[in-house]
Each structure stands twice: as C-alpha cells, then as structure tokens.
Subunit: 429 residues, 2 copies
C-alpha cells in the first residue's frame, strides 16, 4: 500500500505540472528563504527544469546573484581559483564553521538539490544571534563549484579543490564538443594552473550541509528531518559475460551458452542480496548484448553493477560477494566472466559528536526526525575526510530528484535552515 | 561432457583457420560436387567469409557461373522475373519434380548454406539413370533469389514469387542507402512490375531441398543424415516493461519498480519454459534499458522474444503462455507491460508420405540417420504450402552457420546428394 500511494502521488505531481503545484496558493507568504529559492530557480530555469551546469553563463549569473544577495544582507563574499563562492563573515572567535552545498545542477534538474543547502545556510547565518556569531571564527557558506560534474565528469570538483586534492589529471578532460576543462575555466576567467594552493579547509573546525534527501525514506517514515549518519560507499563494476552466439532456432536449449541468460540470473541474485540485507543497495542500470539479433542467442552480455553500503565492514565485503555470485553463475552457465572496477568510493561515517549535536538541534524543532545514511554523494563526503562533518536532510516529495519534479515543502526548507542555525549555536556554545 | 567437447571443437576450428582446416590434405580427390562448392565459394568470397547478397554483382556472377555449369552438363537453364534461376530438363513423363535452395548468402556467410542444396541437386539430377529421368515431367533445380533477405528484409523473396504470393508491399522497401527494391531490381535488369504472373509451382508434383542443418543436433547424435519432418513456427514479440526510473543510491530496494529486474525474471522464466518441454525454443536476443545510467534504476526495459515450436498445437499455445508469464511478473514487480507481435510464421509439417520416402532413401545409404524438425526457415517452408515437400539435412560442424566457419564434411555433402537422387528415383518409380 505504501508503494502504491507513493507512486500515485508522483504521478499526480507529474500530471499537475510544476508551476501550479509548487506554490501554496498565495495564502501563506513565503519565507525569505523560499523566496530566494524561487529567485535562484530563475537562473537556467525553463519549462523542462533548471540547467545550471558548471562553467556556463547560467551558473555564472546565479553565482553573481548569490554574491549580490550575500552583500545585501551584510555578509562578505569571495571566490577561489576553483570557482567556489564563499559568503560569510570573518568573526572574532576561534572556531571556524563552514556551511555549504552547491549551486550547479544537472541538465533539467530541480530547484532544491544544492540550492537549498546554500540558501538555507545563508539564512541560518543571518538567524544567528550576535552573541553566538561573536564566538565563531570565520563562518561562511560555500557554494562549491561543479558538484554534479555534468560537463567533464568532474564530480565534486570545487570541494575537492577546496580540501587540497591533487586535480592535475582533470586538466585535459574534454566535454562532448572537445573543449578541455582548462579551456572552459579560462573562458570564465579561471586558470586551472592556479589550483593547488594551501587547502582552505584548515580554516574551519567543522562542516555542516543541509540537503534534500533525494530519496523517499523520510516521506515514507513521516519524518520531517533526517540526521545523516554517514555517506554510503559506492562500488561500480563493469561486467562482461561471454558465452557463444548461436542460431536461436537451430540450437537446442540445453546446448546454448546464452550470455544474457547468465546476465539475467546475476541481475536477480544481486537484487536478492540487497533485498536480504538492510543497508545494502544494488543496481544494474545498463545492459547490452551482442550480436543483438532477435533470432541470435546472445554471445556477450555487458552490464554495470552499482552496489552501496554505509557500513564500512559491509562495504569492504561487497566486491568479493558480487564477484562470487558472478563467478558461480558463469560456471553454471558455461560462460566466462570479466569484471572491471569502474569506481570505488569508501563510505564516510560522519563525526559522531557532531551528529549528536545535529540530532539534539533537530529534536528542539520536531520529534519527527530520524537517523539515516545518505545513499547519494555530497560535498560533505569530500570535506568530511578533513574536518568533523554532519548533514541535515529534509524530505523530497516522492523521493524525486534530478528532475523538474523535485519538490520539498517550503515549511521543510525553513525547518532545515532552523536546524542548521540551532546546530551552529550548539557548536559555538 | 558433450557440450564441452563440442565447444572445444569449435574453438579448434577457429584457431586452425578455415583455409587449412577445410580441405582434406589432398589425399582424397574431391568429388565434382565438392569441387563445384569450392568454385562457387570464389564468388563473393573473402577472408571474412562469403558475401553474395541479393541484387549484387557477386550474386549475378555466381548465377551466371551456375547457368554455365548447368549448360556444361547438358541441362537447360532459365530465369524468371524474380531472379530465380532454374537448371533442369523438360522430361517426357508427367510427374514434375522440383529441387532447390538458394545461392545468395548473408554478409560474411559460409560456403554451404544454400549452395549445397543447389549444387547437390544439380549432381543428383546428373546421377539419375536415364530410365528414371524419362519417367519425370519437368525436373529442375531452382536457385531461389534472396532467401536471406539481407538487403531489404525480403526473406524468401524468390520462392514467394515462385509460388505466386502477392509481393506488392515489398516494392518500396529501402536498403540502408535509401535504394528501393524496385530500383535495385531494375539495376540488375529485372522489373518489379513483371512479378505476379501465373504461379510456376503448379508445374511440379513435389519439392525436395537438401540443406546443411545449421545446428548441432545431427553431430551431437552422431547422425550423418537428417530427415526433416517439419519447419518450426516462429513467433516474435517486442516486450516493453515499464516501472520507474529512480536514484540507485537513495531509493530503498523495497520501494523500487525496476523494469530490468522484471525483464531479467522474464528472461529466466522463458528459458525455463523451453528447457522443460522438448520441441520448444525461446530466445531473448535484444535488450535495452532506459534511462541507462549506471546509478539509475531502470524505468523501462525493452526486449524481444523469439519462441518456436514445430508441433502446431504447441505453437498455437505459445503466444498465450509467453504473455501469461510476462503479465504475472509485471504484476508481482509493480510494472506495466506492453507486448507487440513482430512476426508470426505458422509451423509447416512436411508431407508424411514424402518424408517416409526420404527416410527409406537415407536408410539405403546409412543407418546413422534421424528425423528432426528444422529450427530455421527455408525456401521449403514457402513451396511446402503448395506441393508435397520434404528436406534432407547433413551435419554442420559445431552447429555453426552464417559464418565463415560454417563447415560440412565433403563426404556428408556427397551423401546428401545421393539421398536426394535416391529419393527422386523412388518418387518416380
């Protein structure tokens, strides 16, 4: 019943359209945060969603508006050689607090992914009492450049530069038109060669990121706030099973070595593995067979496997468990199997003390909160390897993200910003 | 053990290469039939196999050689408006006997598919005693045009024209370069408009086709000759399962409606269906998912299903059985499913009396013969709907066909021609 209700809701959204559905019919005036979210959505916004890819006019304009908005509320603004934008104040205390997220989007994305974290942090900073602010060292919100990595496959580019990662190998990455990242940056007034200075992350004692959940867990549980405990580890594999292409009419069933039959079994068993254990997800998102004739038994089946787990021990075992399944099936089906690692990101467990503080702050606002891991990557997974880090989630309606149908209730946006402000207050207390 | 031995043999062939492996090292002189097969293989032959697609120079040259060869052994030659070539003699009796197969090939095909049937029939005719030949009415071997249908998707074109099928809808078919069938025929001196005269099939009392098996059944059974009882019916379906695309990291496993998970189950169950019942084959030869991102749960899965059965009752039930499986899985997975029929060819049971004659003739040559249905289509399935028809199979090494590695032993080629000759003798006795 749960699932059906959820899905119907999604279709309702789709039928109703974005424009009419997203605004509570003028009865309650929007908060400044939600008004700012609407304004930001104008940059790169169109009928098919919002497109603010890194190193584009749309993102440049959005960043200029963000700096203008920051100055307007009395904050300092600055940028760095990676194109990250910082809005904050120097402070007089010793404990630096960094907030942040990103302003870039995927093509035809939504108005909350990234944007809520940046604008929510801006308003959380404004909401801090002067006495609290005084206790802080530098406090700022970072709008990290190119979190999505859409154009050059350079995900988390800005936060990686910020923490001092060596990005040299990305300089020559080309987009679909053959433009290199170095050229695209130069066109926007940035020199790739200027990256690699002293890591600015050391100026801060902790990092907090507010984000939409981008999944359905909070909504399903009826929770208004998520206290994020960890970011899952990701393992991506390219699998190739090879049997023998044969005539689909003349080859008896028991003599076939059907690569797709093996692939289909693997897809089923990988799902069973993830269904049987909480905390593991598995996905086969691409599949291709050769030779690909309707009347030819597939000789080759290629597919990708994406498996995730937040628990470090569970994550460490995933590679072996997946390969064991693949090898057993290949053996039983008379196939050979080749497995290549496409990507591997270790899980990140957030700072336990800071997570407790986020939870206490959330509980001040609502009892409808819950702990959960993040199944998606965020700038927090980069910064969190250097300084104590935690995240706050608010619900995504229908779990939809990276889509014009992405939606988070205005009240939840405001709630997220308040939890952020309370957390900063407690950190600096 | 069977399978492994078979597969190793296939790999041996591949390693050894065609040229060295296919010719018995000069010890035994080749029969005239096998010499003719080698000669015919020169037309369109290259290192990657033989390419004699319909309406090409290579096929034209091969047909001219065939006519030359026919005249050389004292036979009459003629062509018809569909490009079919006939080599035979008028005869003085009343029982017309038609032999035949095709000379066109798939791209990079082998030297036996079609060619053996035409040349084997030519030599079978030569081998007939004068007293037998005298009892025949018109006796001829037909080299049917474009059995493979490679260029225009016009499979069995020549035999369909020969039996008087209305082919009007094929006139405008275009190849990859946008050339129509009508234009391609005109370029070769044929007028599409001249098709559709009186069906020439009525001149004959029966049809016999010798062909390589194109599958591994005879070889696996240790049989030298196959007596073909029927041609399987074919049902082709395009299936589309639709769930919901979702983020592979943030969507809990139990909330997914994964279209590929449904597709994978269907692939497994369709294979189980065919494995459980002798006489049924099932193949999923193409598959495609959308949106096709490594980290996106597939929202749509499209695949084709090819199911076959020689038994008319079994074939009649296949459509319902396949759809029942698909609907049940879709229901259990929360998917919708759409099924479109791509092709449907009813099975053809060969003339029981003629099949008995073929069997008796085969038994005169060898006890290592067996009855089997044909899993592939042949010109015999077109002609066989009009006059009593039967087929003779000889083994395909490793079951390989439509490949330069297609191979049938010279002794098996000769054996097939002798069975054909004996069959004609009995028919005319």
């Amino acid at each position: 019943v749960c699932i059906c209700a959820l899905l119907e809701r999604q279709y309702d959204v789709r039928l109703a359209g974005v424009a009419t559905e997203d605004r509570p019919a003028g009865r309650v005036p929007l908060s400044e945060l939600n008004t700012d979210l609407e304004t930001l959505a104008e940059f790169g916004g169109g009928v098919a969603g919002i497109t603010r890819v890194a190193w584009s006019d749309a993102l440049d304009s959005a960043n200029r508006w963000l700096m203008h908005r920051g100055r307007g509320v009395g904050l300092d603004v600055s940028t760095d050689p990676a194109g990250n934008v910082f809005v904050g104040r120097p402070g007089s205390g010793t404990q630096g607090v960094l907030l942040g997220s990103h302003v870039d989007t995927v093509p035809n994305g939504g108005r909350y992914d990234g944007a809520l974290g940046v604008l929510g942090a801006l308003h959380a900073m404004r909401a801090l009492g002067d006495d609290v602010a005084k206790r802080a060292g530098r406090i700022a919100v970072a709008a990290f450049m190119d979190e999505e990595g859409t154009r050059f496959g350079t995900d988390l580019f800005g936060s990686r530069a910020f923490v001092g990662d060596d990005l040299t190998e990305l300089a020559g990455r080309v987009d679909r038109e053959g433009v290199t990242l170095t050229e695209a940056m130069a066109e926007r007034g940035y020199a790739f060669a200027e990256l690699g200075g002293a890591a600015a992350v050391t100026e801060y004692g902790c990092y907090l990121e507010l984000h939409i959940e981008q999944g359905p867990v909070l909504e399903e549980a009826g929770a208004d706030v998520g206290i994020v405990t960890a970011i899952v580890g990701l393992l991506g594999l390219q699998v190739e099973m090879t049997g023998e292409a044969n005539h689909a009419g003349t080859t008896p069933m028991h003599l076939r070595r059907d690569a797709l039959a093996g692939g289909a079994r693997a897809i089923g068993e990988l799902r069973d593995l993830a269904l049987a254990e909480a905390g593991i997800t598995a996905n086969v998102g691409t599949i291709l067979v050769e030779p690909g004739g309707k009347n030819v038994v597939p000789g080759v089946c290629r597919f990708t496997v994406d498996v995730r787990a937040a628990n470090p021990e569970a994550f460490a075992q995933l590679d072996h468990r997946v390969r064991t399944i693949l090898l057993r099936i290949a053996g039983e089906e008379g196939l050979t199997v080749n497995v290549e690692e496409l990507y591997r990101l270790e899980p990140l467990t957030f700072d336990a003390g800071l997570v407790d503080v986020v939870e206490a702050s959330a509980m001040d606002e609502t009892t409808a909160c819950m702990r959960l891991p993040s199944g998606a990557g965020h700038d927090a997974m980069v910064v969190g390897r250097h300084i104590p880090t935690a995240m706050v989630f608010v619900p995504s309606r229908g779990g939809i993200s990276h889509s014009p149908f992405e939606y988070t209730e205005p009240a939840h946006c405001d709630l997220g910003a308040r939890v952020l402000a309370r957390t900063i207050g407690r950190v600096l207390a």
